[in-house]
């Protein structure tokens, strides 16, 4: 008997895979069906929200045209509305929030997962998770009554020494004996800082999770070569966690874009396109909707829903980009974002 494949002769046809019936028991089949139904339901729900918002936006765009996206004033009485300033404000608040929360979340996550001793670690985890549990409206109240009166001094300091940067300029004299405190309140800066408190725990939790999964074999390899603890973290843990860091940050960005309650309490609405983050007056999409929903006429309502649709699309894009980054990375394959 030869061991080699003999392809000559009548059995020369190559093999063809056969159909296999998995033969699932009824319990498995029922569970598959139920799980699939729930999954489809979630997709349908999300899709219907987008569809609803999109449909409601049609009258707005029919009425105002694309000027709706480029104009910045909000005067419904004379039928002049545009949301360019609002979109800009939303992005500015989110960027400030991210600028502050990213380093804090990253360093806290590194400390908790790599350096904190046992009891301190569990205390820190509880504290950070508690930050996430505080209702946003409480952060808003805290920011307006306790935080803002003190942070305007920081804003004034930034204006004094870094005011030559166009986005840190404020239209007032910081060196005056009695400087205008109200010019520095209710700004993108204050709102961004308040929002960052809500995005830090989210980012920190995700980053902490991926850092803990960095493989022990590579950690020990680095240590065995003579690396310091920080050298090991820098070479093994952080590169491994890159996907989770980016994904977590993107999720934080999504949260920051949509934060409503705290921003609503802090800012004073202003509808000019400006980049000066320290100056009073701004508006975000979510605050716009929440603030004007009560006494909106039909056309205004449609305009608000169009703004909501734009926010929905922005958040969808951010999350999609995040998913792409995360899925391509080593740690991302283990996380579910």
């Amino acid at each position: 008997m030869t061991l080699a494949l003999d392809l000559s002769g009548p059995q020369a046809t190559p093999p063809v895979p056969r159909e296999i019936d998995p033969g699932l028991p009824t319990g498995d089949r029922v569970f598959h069906g139920a799980a699939r139904t729930v999954g489809v339901f979630v997709l349908v729900l999300t899709g219907s929200i987008g569809l609803f918002l999109g449909l409601q936006s049609i009258p707005t765009f029919q009425h105002y045209g694309l000027n709706f996206l480029t104009r910045s004033e909000w005067q419904p009485a004379i039928d002049q509305i545009g949301i360019s300033a609002v979109v800009l404000g939303t992005i500015e608040v989110a960027v400030v929030a991210l600028f502050v929360s990213f380093p804090l979340a990253l360093l806290t996550a590194v400390y908790i997962s790599e350096y904190a001793p046992g009891r301190l670690k569990s205390m820190l985890v509880s504290a950070v998770d508690l930050m996430a549990a505080v209702p946003p409206i409480i952060y808003g109240l805290w920011a307006v009554f306790l935080f803002q009166p003190h942070i305007i001094y920081v804003a004034r300091w930034l204006h004094t020494y870094l005011g030559w940067l166009p986005f840190l300029h404020v239209n007032t004299d910081p060196h005056a004996a009695v400087w205008e405190q109200s010019r520095y309140t209710s700004s993108v800066f204050v709102a961004g800082l308040a929002v960052s408190l809500m995005t830090i725990p989210l980012g920190c939790a995700i980053m902490r999770g991926v850092f803990a999964q960095a493989p022990i074999g590579e950690r020990e390899a680095a240590l065995a070569l003579g690396a310091t603890k920080w050298g090991m973290v820098r070479t093994v843990v952080l590169p491994f966690g890159r996907g989770g860091v980016i994904g977590g940050t993107m999720l934080s960005l999504g949260r920051a874009l949509g934060e409503t309650a705290a921003v609503l309490l802090i800012i004073s609405p202003a509808f000019d396109l400006k980049f000066r983050i320290l100056e009073a007056g701004t508006e975000t999409i979510s605050a716009l909707i929440a603030g004007n929903f009560g006494d909106a006429s039909a056309t205004q309502l449609s305009a608000l829903l169009s703004a909501g649709f734009i926010l929905f699309v922005m958040t969808l894009c951010v999350n999609t980009v995040a998913a792409i980054f995360v899925n391509r990375s080593r740690s991302g394959a283990a996380t579910e974002i």
Binding site: G217, E220, A221, L223, L225, G226, R330
Partner: protein, 279 residues
């Protein structure tokens, strides 16, 4: 054997850079170890002479790997771990407060059971990773020389010379393990500890690594933990037989020249183990 001949033209970087890296003598004096309240090693003393290969043999769970990890201070990285005794590297106790852990681990390198190259770094960067991690400055011209030298000594140069930019994770298991050996050699250790380096590999890779161990013997003292009796016999000049009775901490039953341990052991337990009657 012709493969060996072509790889024997190594660049002696240590002579070139004037770094004195000589194989060192390692002595364990009354080493005991605990994991929390779990007493796992009881007063183990062993002398591992310079420029020799010492094999640690014995059944699973008797403390060989724990003992090995004590030798390069990796044992203390486990939170509940404790130890007693001394480990002398050329006469100096590495656990003395005056000695820095990072410096000790640079002089006593380790190769692990499961190959662990840094998967996202290239092969060349993997070899140089130890230098980067310990802050050793090597200028550009010497870097490629060092990479070639280490990969040659590890027996991997001929297979990867054309693809040094490939990721470390793209190699086969045996190649990865040799890459890890090359990486350990790049920091010029005096002692190399190997924790069952071939247990996850196929016979060809195993043979290649055993050849590498024999070639490295004159430059680096080697301590190897192995379950493979034939390997211990082939590769080592000295052996130590570890044993842990049920519910008792592990310890050395007998240690001595490999020939004696395998052909004429003193203790009956050693004789039973090396002749395959248990373990």
């Amino acid at each position: 054997m012709s493969v060996l001949a072509s790889e024997s033209t190594t660049v002696d970087l240590r002579a070139a850079t004037g770094v004195a890296g000589a194989p060192a003598q390692l002595d364990a004096v009354e080493v005991s170890a605990w994991f929390g309240t779990n007493f796992v090693l009881d007063r183990v003393s062993l002398s591992m002479p310079a420029a020799t290969v010492t094999a640690l043999i014995g059944p699973s769970g008797c403390g060989k790997s724990t003992f090995l990890r004590i030798l390069n201070r990796l044992h203390e990285s486990v939170p509940s771990a404790q130890l007693a005794g001394k480990v002398l590297l050329d006469g100096e106790d590495i656990y003395d407060p005056g000695h820095r852990v990072t410096q000790t681990r640079k002089r006593i390198g380790m190769v692990f059971q499961k190959p662990n190259p840094f998967p996202t770094m290239s092969i060349a960067d993997n070899v140089l990773a130890g230098l980067k991690l310990t802050g050793t400055k090597v200028n550009k011209s010497e870097r490629s020389q060092l990479v070639e030298s280490c990969l040659t000594r590890a027996g991997l140069w001929s297979e990867v010379r054309d693809r040094l930019g490939d990721h470390g994770g793209a190699l086969s298991g045996g190649q990865q393990q040799r890459l890890c050996i090359a990486r350990s050699l790049a920091v010029d250790p005096d002692v190399l500890l190997m924790d069952e380096p071939c247990s996850a590999l196929d016979p060809t890779s195993t043979r290649r690594i055993e050849e590498t161990i024999s070639e490295l013997r004159s430059e680096v003292t080697i301590v190897i933990v192995t379950h493979n009796m034939q390997q211990a016999h082939r590769v080592s000049q000295q052996s130590a037989f570890f044993l842990a009775a049920q519910g008792c901490p592990g310890g050395i039953v007998e240690a001595g020249p490999t020939e004696q341990i395998f052909n004429d052991p003193v203790d009956t337990r050693t004789a039973d183990y090396v002749h395959g009657r248990f373990g």
